[in-house]
Amino acid sequence: MDSIHDLGGMDGFGPVRPEHDEPVFHEKWEGSVLGLQRSILYLGLWNIDVFRHAQERIRPNEYLSWSYYERWTHTLIATALERGLFSDEEFRSGIADAVSSSAPLVPLTSRDTDKAFVRGNFEREGMGEPRFCVGDMVITKELRITGHTRLPRYARDKIGTIIAIRGRHVFPDAVVSHGKEDPQWLYTVEFEGSEIWGEAVDSTVSNLIDAFEPYLLRPEYD
């Protein structure tokens, strides 16, 4: 969906202000939110794409005014309610219903937190060859997706060159739209800065994205 999370190429947010000697967490509750997020993802009921899409659905004014971990808190609660991890009543009271509808889940325990620290592998084995080769010129689609996509607005309908093939990966758009991994070939595509930004950018700049095969067309054929 084309909401405020897709920030690339916007103006008006002012200068970047790096914080000197920034702590890992500014407040204790931020660490709890991170711990809760890792623990909830570990349950395996939904993946990171679902979590990201829930953040994308935060209203733009709130997305910009909330801190990062405030957004996470909102997203974790909203997704847990939406997916029935607990009910409104349970959340309000803090007391689990005696009869729980949820299937038995294996929680993350302190014995195996190490498992939660290594990033999951999103590459999937499968049949079929990639449609594009390194060096191929491609054009990105002019997408209008109301669900989830990882093709940023600034890189749509632009001509670029494939510089690497990264394997067949879980397709985020499909995970969110119909709960299927639907693995797709993933490529790194490089665009001349001028192709995207026109004369606003000097000729030394290029932009690179990782693009799934369904985002890409062959200029001379498609």
Partner: protein, 212 residues
Amino acid sequence: MSDSDHHHSHEDGSTLTDIQKRVKALESILVSKGLVERAAIDQIIEHFEHKVGPHVGARVVARAWVNPEFKHALLKDATQAINHQSDFPEVGQHLIAIENSDSLHNVVVCTLCSCYPWDVLGLPPVWYKSAPYRSRIVSDPRSVLKEFGLKLSVGKKVRVWDSTAETRYLVIPQRPVGTEAISESELAKLVTRDSMIGTGVASFSAESKDHG
């Protein structure tokens, strides 16, 4: 957030902000349903506060500087190269190392959310997740880098990598001149977090050597 608007007094005299109350409520219901364990949450916090961080990436970069074979393997497949070294922590798949040179500067962003190579750099700083950085680094990298005090030479190529998938990028900064006689572990101290994102460079001066 204004404190006076969001603090509420409790009978025991403690005050909690609205957000603290929401986080507590979320944790309570998940614990009471047996879906999360508080000890596991504490370990996760401990891990990100004390175990993983830019010092991990810095050791990887320093080794790449002194060991050409490792650097070659790192640029080919960073995950495999790191996981084959017994003294580095295990990292996830599809970590990609990108090397700076005299003619090329690389810088990394996630315009859509906050993708970042946690297993070699720890959690991202606030600015990396903020609207100013995510919006402008793609369209005007040179001026954003100036805000970090980094002035790139005219004519140097700049590649801006947007982490839009489950790949993660680690910039290998250039080894500072004058560091030929310095050990790998001392070199690692020159490698800053920002130099591995591409918003800084690794630097060295005789003074920094004297001060360890």
